[in-house]
């Protein structure tokens, strides 16, 4: 038995898809995470779908990844460059084995390297990538179509959602199971 059903409606115009979102939400009480818009380019947040609150929650946590990884990189840099000085100590005229300039340079570079890694991890984690399974999608999205994707939990709701989408100007409807 399946967990959920999906309906993907394709639209040509921004105005049409924005009008179709609200009736579907009202009809099934769809939560923010159960409705999506597919597009080939980025639209300003909230332009196509009223899920700013959900995205805000994601964004407010997303910055933690590069930030925390930057800290890890900072530590790695200090240990690598500074630690080398302590472990393989060259005694030169009573100078400290810890060398500030080289440690600073290496630490700076490592902080940024780990920041890069953290940024990529944040993308993968919050966008749910990679995901090579067959998910609800239509190649026409790449050619400019806008897709309204809804997750519902019964076959009847799936039919109803498809009908609403059609009524609100969807030129193509695709139905699926467990592929949100």
């Amino acid at each position: 038995m399946s967990d959920h059903y999906t309906v993907l409606g394709l639209y040509r115009k921004v105005e049409t898809i924005t009008k179709a979102g609200d009736p579907i939400r009202e009809a099934f009480g769809v939560k923010d995470g159960d409705i999506e818009v597919l597009s080939s380019a980025a639209y300003p947040d909230g332009a196509l779908l009223d899920d700013k609150e959900l995205l805000h929650q994601v964004e407010s946590r997303q910055f933690l990844f590069p930030f925390l990884m930057g800290f890890v990189g900072f530590g790695a840099g200090v240990i690598l460059a500074g630690g080398t000085g302590y472990i393989m100590n060259l005694i030169v005229g009573g100078k400290s084995p810890f060398t500030y300039a080289p440690t600073g340079v290496i630490t700076y570079e490592f902080t940024l390297l780990f920041g890069v890694i953290g940024s990529v991890l944040s993308l993968l984690y919050y966008a749910g990538l990679p995901n090579w399974t067959d998910r609800a999608y239509d190649p026409e999205v790449a050619d400019g179509a806008l897709g309204l994707l809804v997750k519902v939990y019964s076959k009847e709701d799936q039919e109803k959602a498809a009908k609403i989408m059609e009524d609100y100007g969807a030129y193509k409807i695709k139905k699926g199971v467990n592929d949100f």
């Binding site: 597009s39 080939s40 639209y43 997303q62 570079e109 940024l112 990529v120 919050y126 190649p139 790449a142």
Partner: protein, 498 residues
């Protein structure tokens, strides 16, 4: 509703920035794109041609999916040039570094000058891309990919030169901190080690930046390849990571791009500063100067932007992309190049005048020795500074593609010679007069250096056939968030900013 009403209402509501009044009562973005304004906005040179997204996708993916016979001939020719370079390298590796012209006291010759040149070339791509992304400059969109790819490939070429220069290639792993029974461990106190770290980290960051930027376009190319049954679908499917352009994906992606842009902006200047410290941290007269860091960074951005322009014009012509990479973009890049040319000239004279006025004997000897290289300096001054500033000041020149192509090539010739003049003459007159001598690159060095240029072009040519060269998603976003409105008798482009 008339266009004038639209203009008035959008002005009242602050289309370019504010959020006032009833949002749903405002006119749709499509209504701003009034055909009437098209004739009036010819001067924009950035017409609204992307209405048909399918056509746009096919047009911009054409260089990737369709290959002509001349492409194969061209890459074969590049392969031959690379093969001769490889031959010279193998010969040098077996016979020894004596095959190169480097000798006491000129231990750093054309290889190191070329290394600095390639690292410099890598600087424009990501820096320009990051700055333009962060400032939301709308004209950046079609040029980003080509510029970012240039960074990655320049660094890949640059990374070869220290290996070629040290001769004993099989000991290159000494630079990597790998625990071993022999207790070999890198010395982090050496600027050369900082350089090794910085360049590798920059390469990692640049490749990541390039890949993340590619992600949405890989999905478009994947769909196209699947529809065509093209062999590229196999790797495109994997590399696209299952991207489908959901609202959440875009939101997270944009945030990630922003993080990366900021981080890359912090990495890039540090890399060329560290390259400059390879020289400046030594006690060699002519090198030991505090100006080297910013001087190198500005020089790097300068040669990089010139290379981006050369590349853009080449892509325009070779792949018929003149309606995507427009004269307007070359003009904007030309203005940027003009600003950097002025800053670089300032640094060039700063370096000269401090030495000339202080007249320290050991510094002055190095400078006086440069006298017999006057033609080289003239080339640097002309290509790198005077001629560039003069020519780029004219709009007519900036919109002349052959002129811009020739000028940007001249800039990079000038910048290559400048790097050579930084490395070689200074070592020729270093410290002890009984060691003073001159240096001329041998045929081995010339062969390998020429092959490095072929290698760079080859990497680029391969990239164009495997990945989309135009930043399609960014261009589409530009169309979404902008439109033309009529203001009196003029067409004005407005852009939605969050």
């Amino acid at each position: 509703m008339s266009l004038d009403d639209n203009v008035k209402r959008s002005a009242d509501a602050g289309v370019a920035g504010g959020h006032h009044g009833d949002v749903m009562a405002l006119p749709e973005i499509e209504s701003f794109r009034d055909p009437e304004t098209k004739a009036a906005k010819a001067h924009y040179d950035d017409a609204d041609i992307y209405r048909d997204e399918k056509g746009f996708n096919e047009h911009t993916l054409r260089p990737m999916f369709f290959t002509t016979k001349s492409y194969f001939i061209f890459t074969l020719a590049l392969g031959l040039v690379m093969a001769q370079g490889l031959g010279f390298f193998v010969y040098q590796t077996f016979v020894g570094l004596g095959m190169a012209g480097i000798h006491e006291p000129v231990y750093w010759g054309a290889y190191i000058a070329t290394f600095v040149f390639w690292v410099g070339m890598s600087h424009s791509g990501t820096i320009v891309s990051s700055i333009l992304r962060l400032t939301q400059a709308n004209w950046r969109r079609p040029i980003l990919r080509a510029a970012e790819a240039m960074t990655a490939f320049s660094l890949m070429v640059a990374g070869l030169f220290p290996l070629i220069h040290v001769g004993r290639l099989w000991r290159a792993y000494y630079m990597v901190p790998l625990p071993s029974q022999r207790m070999l461990w890198p010395n982090f106190k050496s600027p050369l080690m900082w350089d090794f770290c910085a360049i590798n980290i920059y390469l990692t960051g640049s490749m990541t930046f390039l890949y993340i930027g590619l992600l949405p376009d890989l999905a478009v190319a994947r769909d196209k390849a699947i529809a065509m049954g093209n062999w590229r679908r196999h790797y495109l499917k994997v590399l696209a990571l299952g991207w489908r352009g959901s609202h959440r994906e875009w939101s997270v992606y944009n945030k990630c791009s922003l993080f990366l842009a900021v981080i890359i902006l912090l990495i890039a200047p540090s890399v060329h500063t560290i390259v400059s410290w390879d020289f400046a941290m030594t006690m060699t007269p002519g090198w030991h100067t505090t100006i080297f860091g910013p001087y190198f960074v500005v020089g790097a951005i300068y040669s990089g932007i010139a290379a981006v322009i050369t590349l853009m014009i080449t892509l325009r012509i070779l792949f018929n992309l003149d309606d995507v990479i427009r004269k307007f973009h070359i003009d904007a890049l030309g203005k940027l190049l003009l600003v950097i040319a002025i800053i670089w000239t300032y640094f060039y004279f700063c370096e000269f005048i401090t030495n000339w006025y202080s007249h320290k004997p050991e510094e002055w000897e190095v400078m006086a020795w440069q006298g017999h290289r006057f033609p080289y300096h003239l080339m640097v001054m002309l290509g790198g500074s005077c001629l560039t500033i003069f020519c780029l000041s004219w709009r007519r020149f900036r919109s002349c593609m052959p002129c811009m192509f020739a000028l940007t090539l001249l800039v990079n010739c000038g910048m290559y010679i400048e790097r050579y003049l930084i490395v070689v003459p200074i070592l020729s007159r270093r410290d002890n007069p009984f060691m003073w001598t001159d240096y001329t690159p041998t045929i081995t060095e010339v062969g390998i250096i020429v092959a490095s240029f072929a290698y760079f072009i080859f990497l680029y040519a391969i990239f164009i056939k495997l990945f989309p060269i135009v930043t399609m998603a960014d261009v589409k976003e530009g169309v979404i968030v902008s439109g033309d409105v009529r203001l009196g008798r003029h067409a004005v482009r407005v852009q939605v900013k969050e």
